[in-house]
């Protein structure tokens, strides 16, 4: 029996905001380090402070901003703008899957409550919210709380990196680059629903490795995730 079947209808509570913030908290050290790197890359491209704040508020997708900074054109033409939008859309295409995963839970809520929240959707916030959901929770404020908390950390961290310039410490030595992978992997434990339900995970991993091997760029996340999700459709409900 799926927990989803007896999960309550979605609702909002003030307590949920704090729950969401607490759930994403372990990820914040890694998020801060990454934010500092993105902020300093933005400063290196000559962005003004206002432009930096605009980008991190309105785009708010670190990995795609990093790629955009790498290909940032010296002269910004309309063609270059279209190219940047395309690059960013490509890097963020996996977010289509994240949003789709939220539908069964949040679908009953009015659109005006959800679409603004989706702007703050990030991988960490999504992972912890889906884990909360898989455990039977229905409070939409958990997603919002984690999202707002992450957003504040992101703005502070990127701004610190922007102001500090290239003074980014060696964070690899204390392995802060591995916060996200370790936390995500740990999340597999509460998400575990038996070996049969883990077959899609194996498919996702194998496809991701293959794509990483043969295709340049970060396509492997999207390709692997998509393969795993499709495989999920072919595993039948069994106890």
């Amino acid at each position: 029996m799926d927990k989803h079947d007896n999960a309550k209808a979605p609702y909002w509570s003030l307590d949920g905001l704090a729950v969401g913030a607490r759930l994403v908290l372990p990820l914040m050290p890694g998020m801060v380090v990454f934010g500092i790197a993105v902020g300093s890359a933005t400063a290196a491209k000559g962005f003004t402070l206002i432009e930096h704040l605009l980008m991190n508020t309105l785009v708010y997708a670190g990995m795609s901003q990093m790629v955009a900074m790498e290909v940032w054109p010296r002269h910004i033409t309309y063609g270059a703008i279209a190219g940047l939008a395309l690059v960013v859309a490509t890097v963020n295409a996996r977010m289509l899957l994240l949003g789709a995963g939220l539908r069964p839970w949040l679908g009953p809520l009015p659109a005006w409550q959800i679409y603004p929240v989706l702007h703050l959707l990030t991988d960490p916030g999504w992972i912890v919210a889906m884990r909360y959901r898989a455990d039977g929770g229905s409070d939409a404020a958990v997603l919002l709380g984690g999202a707002l908390f992450t957003f504040v950390f992101w703005i502070v961290a990127t701004t610190a990196g922007y102001l500090a310039g290239s003074l980014v410490p060696d964070t690899r030595a204390i392995a802060l680059d591995l916060v996200m992978p370790v936390f995500f992997a740990a999340m597999l434990v509460p998400l575990w629903r038996g070996a049969k339900r883990a077959i899609p995970w194996v498919v996702a991993g194998l496809v991701a490795l293959l794509v990483q091997q043969f295709v340049a760029g970060a396509w492997y996340v999207l390709a692997g995730s998509l393969a795993g999700i499709i495989a999920g459709g072919f595993t039948d409900d069994g106890e």
């Binding site: 372990p26 962005f47 432009e51 980008m55 309105l58 997708a61 795609s64 910004i76 270059a80 703008i81 940047l84 859309a89 963020n92 295409a93 977010m95 289509l96 899957l97 994240l98 949003g99 789709a100 995963g101 539908r103 069964p104 679908g107 989706l118 702007h119 991988d123 999504w126 992972i127 030595a173 204390i174 392995a175 591995l178 992978p181 370790v182 936390f183 995500f184 992997a185 740990a186 999340m187 597999l188 434990v189 998400l191 339900r197 996702a204 496809v207 991701a208 490795l209 990483q212 492997y220 996340v221 999207l222 390709a223 995730s225 393969a227 795993g228 999700i229 999920g232 595993t235 409900d237």
Partner: protein, 105 residues
């Protein structure tokens, strides 16, 4: 019109375009699923999505980063299995990776 001003406007336009493209990805999947009938198969697919996204994100990083990352991830999962404490999982994983990076040639 100074060079600086024109650059600013262009940067703002580029940021708005990037913002629109990103929001389309963030909201697009949710929006599309509003038009898909929630059959048992679709529900199973969506239920498989967190684990699939995690493995597709983490496994390539582990392969790229080598043994320290592998041991960090395994330790994190082991801690989670034993105590269900995500903070401890991250702390132990990072400590192991940092030690291996420090002491491995």
């Amino acid at each position: 019109m100074t060079v600086n001003d024109s650059v600013s406007l262009a940067v703002v336009l580029a940021i708005l375009a990037m913002s629109g493209a990103t929001y389309a990805m963030r909201a697009g999947g949710y929006w599309l699923m509003g038009y898909v009938r929630m059959t048992p198969r679709i529900r199973r697919m969506l239920e498989a999505s967190p684990g699939a996204v995690i493995v597709a994100t983490v496994l390539p990083i582990v392969v790229r980063e080598g043994l320290p990352a592998a041991f960090a991830v395994i330790a994190g999962v082991a801690v989670m299995l034993a105590w269900r404490r995500d903070y401890v999982a991250v702390a132990v994983g990072l400590a192991i990776a940092a030690a291996m990076r420090a002491f491995m040639p």
